[in-house]
Symmetry: D2
Subunit: 410 residues, 4 copies
């Protein structure tokens, strides 16, 4: 057995914004014996997860489940709906928006990447990485596109690299206002099942998501939630696709099966995750993450360090980016915290490498898990020589004391 248990004692605190800590229930479910993916028992499992996942996306339309990690679902969204050379409008909210844009280009699309035009004193090199999608910029660009050359607008719902959650309904509004036929494609990989998300109500055409965030599964499953317009688009789209092709999957899913071998044991985990989320109820799931996020932000504010998200209206309930004083190496602080306190934090990605770290507040956590996380951060920041204004742990404890979660005992 691999020596992943090599730490002297205790359980590692995995407080990165995904993969999130996986509940033991789900790990146990995944250890059920693999079954025949063409047998009758599989059909029962298949129909359950195919139907159940729609509730999480808040959609009545098909959700395609891929036996592949999330990056593949990005490709699937583009390849099923677009043709070589098609023009797509994307918006730079952070590292993952940038990677999706890079992928679109690589697949032969013409990619236009809008950015926020303001300036930012704290992060002068990445001002847009502190804000959400600017729906008005998109609206203006679409109005200008009288020939409807833009075939899709692609935005990230919850930017895992920054801790900013964009207003998707506003983007839909921008498209509608411009009376533009572009498809709306949204990456909610780290938002789904943690931050409110309404595929149908918000008029999203394709939502891309993955297993290893709010669903609390290990990585290895990803999703495309579809709209009827997206399905229509797929009938004429010309980008080559086979593994990602919706047509055969959607057709076979009707009976609970897949056209190729699905990821059986992760589907066991998905089934268990759906049970857990359904038992708690989606609104409570969202409220829980909001409450956790507020507690963690109380700590960061007490420290006197800037929260990366500069707009309180779009604070992410899933993670909080913490910007370090100029000259401090955030990765050195992370390493110190990892080695001294057995706590993993998210690294600064892309333009922000070394400038900040990210605290994940999702997955199999509770108040004490997050207080332990705050304590680990606070000790590490001090040991690294960073002056903190006041006690973050005290602020977080005050928050959690004053804002009780729903009672534990049902």
């Amino acid at each position: 057995m691999l020596k992943l248990d090599a730490h002297p004692t205790g359980r590692h605190f995995l407080q990165i914004p995904g993969p999130s800590p996986v509940p033991d229930r789900i790990l146990r479910a995944m250890s059920l014996p693999t079954i025949d993916h063409r047998g009758p028992e599989f059909g029962v499992l298949g129909r359950k997860v195919i139907s159940g996942i729609r509730e999480i996306f808040q959609t009545r339309h098909p959700v395609v489940i891929y036996p592949a990690s999330g990056t593949g679902a990005w490709e699937a969204a583009l390849a099923n709906t677009l043709s070589p050379g098609d023009h797509v409008l994307m918006f730079e909210t952070g590292h993952f928006a940038s990677l999706w844009a890079k992928m679109a280009t690589r697949l032969g699309l013409s990619t236009e990447f809008l950015s926020w035009q303001g300036t930012d004193e704290v992060l002068p090199n990445a001002p847009g990485w502190r804000r959400g999608v600017q729906a008005d910029q998109i609206a203006q660009r679409l109005r200008e596109d009288r020939e409807h050359r833009i075939k899709a607008v692609c935005v990230v719902h919850n930017e895992t690299s920054t801790g900013v959650t964009s207003d998707i309904a506003a983007v839909r509004g921008a498209i509608d206002e411009a009376k533009h036929p572009a498809l709306l494609m949204v990456d909610s990989i780290s938002g789904l099942a943690s931050a409110e998300f309404r595929h149908d109500e918000w008029g999203v055409d394709v939502t891309v998501s993955g297993s290893q965030k709010g669903l609390m599964l290990p990585p290895g499953i990803s999703f495309n939630a579809l709209s009827p317009r997206a399905l229509d688009a797929s009938k004429t789209a010309k980008l080559p696709r086979a593994f990602w092709a919706w047509d055969e999957i959607v057709e076979m899913n009707a009976t609970g099966y897949w056209p190729y071998t699905p990821n059986t044991n992760l589907l066991y985990g998905l089934s268990e995750a759906l049970d857990m989320i359904q038992a708690e109820g989606l609104p409570k799931v969202f409220a829980r993450h909001q409450r956790w996020a507020a507690g963690v932000r109380a700590a960061v504010n007490a420290w006197g360090l800037p929260i990366q998200c500069a707009d309180p209206a779009v604070y992410s309930p899933v993670l909080t980016g913490v910007i370090l004083p100029d000259g401090m190496d955030a990765d050195a602080v992370r390493k110190l915290i990892y080695e001294r306190f057995d706590l993993s934090l998210g690294t600064g990605l892309g333009k922000l490498k070394g400038r900040m770290f990210r605290i994940g507040h999702l997955g199999d956590s509770n108040d004490l898990t997050l207080l332990a996380t705050v304590a680990g951060c606070e000790m590490g920041l001090k040991l690294a020589g960073i002056k903190l204004q006041s006690s973050g742990i005290q602020a977080a404890m005050d928050h959690f004391s004053q804002h009780p979660a729903p009672a534990l005992t049902a």
Copy 2:
């Protein structure tokens, strides 16, 4: 928890040719907590599996590990090496060869599908599905292709739909003899780690494989083993690709990491599988499957039913196809066996639907597992009213008694 344990008692016998029965050791390994895929512990895991998997393919060159099931690795092989409209030569060995050819066409390639030209009394509608790849047909076709329009020869090593294992070295010989520059791409999804396979020595350019057969993992991981020529071809190939693109993966794999989120918990399983295979030794692994296959064939011969593979030189060590008397519905027999004896057998695929069933003899099995399987088949065949010539279970017991496996105790 999903009621997959709903059978009254006992463990289900999963004797399909994959997903194979997963050893408890591997299921336990997969239940280790998910870790940060960018942290130091992951690097140790990554380097171990990236290096260890090469030994299984018998190659010194890179093996790309995808967090996706096997069908994706087919697409990866084609998309990384070929350009739209390229001509590929494939050979009809069965259902999976047909599906791969269909995929190639769908991706925009020009697909030429050779078939065996003989006749077969038992399966007149699918004579080629009882034989392996005919290297001489390929040699002749390549000789005729003086302009080298054929860019790749694609064949299946172990046809999971038929129980025929083709001679890959002979195909390489045919290409060499014709002095043809076509790449040789081989699907060994169900052959790897069960049937002898030598990527380097046999001059394969891309080998496609998956996790859920000889590696004894659940589905969800797949592979492309590369040759230097394949890597060269990928630099100029024009089919669009992103998720499947070798370049970034091979580059980042050098440090033990992936450019996107890998399938962490299945990699735990892969690590465990590599330990198990290494401890037994590949030659013993291959011998074990050959011995099992001979025992099962002894039973089928005793029954007097035709083995699907008509050429003893290419019997598969992984599975055996059993052809039923004309007029019998093989799927009805399978259903009876499933319901009465808690035993899953492989269905007849494509052209052979209802004509035959497949017995898998791979994965977490032993002599008694296979004798139980033979007993279940024999009882089911009789209950279905099929006359059998003699006792298959007796023949299999005689075989296993007279051919001892290596001693259990090391």
Copy 3:
């Protein structure tokens, strides 16, 4: 991790008459995190198993659950009801009856050990080990005991060393007929939840049982089912006792807790086992074991080897003893079968060491498991040079084919 998985491949066949093969469901349940044995969640668990286990014993009276293996529950039965020097009547049905008698003597009781008085050609040195308790011998002895010196009659319900199940109702009848006040104490360690057992209806005062047989748990839990008379007796009994004392346990059990630390994780397993047995239904559980036993006996009869139990009326549904031809070393045959076929069989115990082996047909098994077991035995017997009259595997297959179990799919 301990290398218990060191066998090359496949799952070991544990066909001894206990510990029985443990279902994965139960092993998974046992891996839930240990909780506070004084906390509210524990009370829920405690009340469930304390109440549920009564249904298995078919009693309305208290069942004491010990965090100890079965031998302890023997001691508990004696120590709670008897005083030093008390006279107890026991009956030699085999090795475990002998051990219980030895324990009674060791604890300072006066032990009288009745044996069957006939002769037996096959096992001349242990004729009584082929038959059940003789109620008429007990009746006669009790009639003679006019002064009621005998304080308890102790018998074994299902003799694990022989494969004989005694008629407990007949023993009760013998006591009643003699109008004798002796307590009736019964060891049903290997009978409970496999062979019909009715604590209340049969008028048993103390039933002793354990976890590792019909309940399909690992060893580590044992039971005393009580009658009101037994509880009365415990108020005046003078053998010293503390850990085994019923009084404090029965009192605290009323709330779902124990006076000392219970065996928490095995109680998780017990809870799961109760769910499984309740879902199947006790009558179906008993019928299942009877059906399996008949199939195994069909094989032994076909081989022409004597079944140890000489009286078909008391064949055990749990295990079958197989007597080897004179001069054959049964343990050498067992070793051969273990090493060649990864199959564990029960050894001959006490007087029968080397003369016989025992096939367990209980726990997490199904028809194919038992056919594999029969196949392993038959191959091993032949390899050891023993002449068999006819095919046992064929006889067992015929039995299971002709006597269908309830359908797998509910």
Copy 4:
């Protein structure tokens, strides 16, 4: 499956002084399939744990492993060495010393229970429950016993009910000084593998221990470590015993087996625990608990609440008792903390019910686990209306920051 996972999210914090949090490694080991306790594989396991457990007790003499929880091992120590009516000297260090004395009386021994003779303002009704064993009182009593009526001195090493660790070497010194032949019997149920303990060097005759504390296993296994003098005493001791009798166990243990069915799956856990402790090294294990204890005490001191142990020389490294202000119901505070913060604390036992709670700092924990625990206590105390002098969490964080543990990465 039992709904022990019913909490909305996150892992329960089990910070009671045992059962301690069980590492996942051990839970996984316990889920290995049960094997034949008379087969060759079991012997390997048996020999490993029988030999390995001696290192933990720091003894060269036999350690008996019982398939029963710790209370049984108390009885075993007494029953194997003493005869009815024997006089034993015990010392009131707290609830568990009292229970052991009560058991001795129940078993028919003549029990003399010494108590500390001072007064205590904080706990006037239980002054001795704030101090360790007073070796000088024992010495004096033994000197007075010129006829050597006292057969054994029984003391508790680490009082789980109080958080006081007694000086066992001093007790040995008292016996030696008095030249008294009494056996020294020590309960180190909650001390073993957390607090320094030296069976041989300290001249202990019988050490009693259990699995669910420093060994980090679930409850269900207990121990008697023996001395040659204890073994001698057992040859003439007259208390009846069978299950607990050392003679047969010690004899059969020589080959790695037990005279009755052992607790197989918990032995898997023990094997894993021994591996973990050996890898860390006993001195580091002890230092780790001392460091944790100091951090927790720093918090209690900062709160201004009395630590139950009034003598810093004998602070327990395993748990800390926290005494609440007069008039506060400690169990109500514990309930509040349990319901609001998913944290279990130990209840006040016996004389101290409602006056205090106990924080366990043992088992599968790390710095952040304990900081989370301190945070949970601090929030709960405040919510219950208790005035705290200063920030306990800050004091604990300062302690852990200033006293680094050994580096995580080996």
